[in-house]
């Protein structure tokens, strides 16, 4: 599946819910299902600090694809981290760099990505793109 196919699938999954609490229940479930990050990566080096919640993000570059594992101390943040991983992990640097993340807005979770929210998610997306740019640069050397 392409990045946009995954995003469309996510929008579809959320479209069955009208009620906010149901949507958040799904986000929370996704947070609980997020594969655990290796504890050795839950360090300051991989920490993306927000003022309200924290995100840890670890990249791995193999066969021109970047895989991410991640975690957060808040379960709702972890749910959205889980969505982002599902969309962006296992992609080539080029795919990640050119990705447009429209699905988060479409399912009504845009407020979590607002710059004032400071939960680490916006910084997480920036960090993912930075890793992609770095790997692209080193990979083509």
């Amino acid at each position: 599946m392409t990045i946009n196919e995954v995003q469309d699938a996510i929008v579809e999954e959320f479209s069955v819910f009208d009620d906010w609490m149901d949507k958040y229940n799904l986000v929370i479930d996704m947070g609980k299902e997020l594969p655990a990050i290796d504890p050795k990566f839950k360090t300051r080096d991989y920490l993306i600090e927000g003022c309200q919640s924290k995100v840890w993000l670890h990249p791995e570059f193999r066969d021109n694809k970047i895989s991410f594992t991640a975690d957060s101390d808040a379960i709702i943040t972890r749910g959205i981290v889980s969505l982002l991983i599902r969309i962006l992990s296992g992609r080539t640097p080029e795919e990640i760099i050119s990705a447009e993340l429209y699905s988060i807005e479409k399912i009504g979770l845009r407020q979590h990505l607002s710059p004032t929210r400071s939960n680490g998610l916006l910084s997480m997306i920036r960090q993912i793109k930075l890793y992609a740019m770095a790997y692209k640069a080193t990979g083509s050397r």
Partner: protein, 411 residues
């Protein structure tokens, strides 16, 4: 003119605040973030609108009718502030941009005039950043030392430790009237009396104090009292610096510009009289006038009534929230404003706040700009429900039910 007429019951009071009828996510708004900013009664909204629709002329400058009218209203507002806090003279009331602006002004001007290397400034562990950082900046500039009164597990200051910190090196004590993070009401009168026995002036940060009861600066005998308009049902962007005349007369101005001067030449400028020497440039006069109306409104309800209603809310909230076994309250001081700071066992504050929001309940999560308080309790932040007289028991029930629902979803 709109009058804020005699008020009888809570429904009448709530009807004065149009925003309280708002719905968020199709649910009635339960506004429990009053410590961050309070809502505005219609009379304040109308007053600000009246300024712009009828007499928007720059104050203290024009020879024309609407400038005169605006100046008169602005000075009336100053007089209302004076009377509200029972200051002796209206020249002791300086308009600023807010609590932060007021503290920065005092920290700068007082520092310039009185602080030398090795001098000490005392604050408490309960301060929000606005009453920490300006003093730190001044101490850095002057080579002075910041001393901090520690707090106990209930969130009250340890008075004996305060006594130990006071010394011949202490130049000023700056403490909060009420903790914004825990709700503790500090024994400000005792703090002031003790400092005064050693001829040390005291600044009281009233950002969370002014709106919850009677503030009488004459009785309190503080040297400075500062607060924000927007937390006391007035507009944003306006604040008050009250200072005893003997101090304000001695302090140098902290900003230069128009309206604060008596005479300007390129060689020398002489400053205007109090309070104008501290009001450089065009002041936020519409907000100042709106603040005057907000204080009228509070008076129409009565500070005693406000205290009584808010005590009832706090007691009720304590009782309701203590039924939730996963909930831990931070701040158990005997004297508190109606504010409850809490965490749910094993649940991140951000998650709690997010879900409450989706139920229409507005609370604040985080450090509340008082990081040292959170560090003291070894936590990263809390969920804070801050009430005021227009809140109801039903809203506290909604909060209780909302928290229980959040616990269920998040555990």
């Amino acid at each position: 003119m709109i009058n804020c007429i005699d008020l009888k019951n809570i429904n009448d009071i709530r009807a004065d605040f149009p925003i309280l009828a708002t719905k968020v996510y199709n649910k009635p708004l339960v506004y429990l973030d009053n410590a961050a900013t309070s809502q505005k009664p219609q009379c304040v909204i109308d007053k600000v609108s009246e300024v712009f629709s009828r007499y928007n002329g720059n104050i203290h400058r024009g020879v024309h009718a609407i400038s005169d009218k605006a100046s008169e209203e602005y000075e009336n507002a100053r007089e209302k502030v004076r009377s509200f806090i029972n200051a002796e003279k209206s020249r002791e009331i300086v308009f600023t941009s807010g609590t932060t602006g007021s503290i920065n002004a005092v920290a700068f001007s007082f520092g310039e005039r009185y602080i030398r290397s090795g001098d000490e400034v005392i604050i408490s562990h309960l301060e929000h950043h606005a009453n920490i950082v300006p003093w730190q900046m001044m101490c850095d500039r002057k080579g002075a030392i910041l001393r901090v009164i520690p707090i106990n597990n209930n969130g009250g200051i340890i008075f004996d430790e305060y006594l130990k910190l006071l010394s011949s090196r202490t130049r000023i004590v700056a403490v909060t009237h009420v903790s914004n993070a825990l709700g503790t009401i500090l024994p400000v009168k005792k703090i002031i009396e003790t400092a005064h026995s050693m001829d040390i002036p005291v600044l009281i940060d009233g950002a969370q104090g002014i709106q919850h009861g009677d503030v009488d600066v004459a009785d309190m005998d503080c040297d400075f009292y500062v607060f924000s308009g927007h937390k006391v049902y007035g507009p944003t962007g306006i604040g008050i610096l009250y200072g005893k005349e003997k101090w304000l007369a001695e302090l140098p101005p902290y900003q230069g510009g128009g309206d604060m001067v008596e005479n300007v030449t390129f060689e020398k400028t002489t400053y205007g009289e109090l309070p104008f020497k501290f009001e450089a440039g065009t002041m936020n006069f519409s907000a100042a006038i709106g603040l005057g109306t907000a204080l009228d409104y509070i008076r129409s309800i009565g500070t005693e009534n406000i205290e009584r209603m808010e005590k009832d809310l706090l007691d009720y909230a304590n009782k309701r929230l203590s039924q939730i076994k996963e909930l831990k309250i931070y701040g158990h001081s005997e004297k508190k404003i109606p504010l409850i700071s809490f965490l749910l066992k094993g649940i991140h504050m951000y998650d709690t706040g997010m879900l409450l929001d989706k139920m229409g309940i507005a609370v604040r999560t985080g450090t509340h700009c008082a990081q040292p308080v959170m560090d003291r309790f070894g936590i990263e932040g809390t969920v804070r429900a801050s009430m005021c007289f227009y809140n109801t028991r039903e809203e506290i029930d909604s909060l209780g039910t909302g928290i229980e629902k959040a616990v269920k979803m998040l555990s």
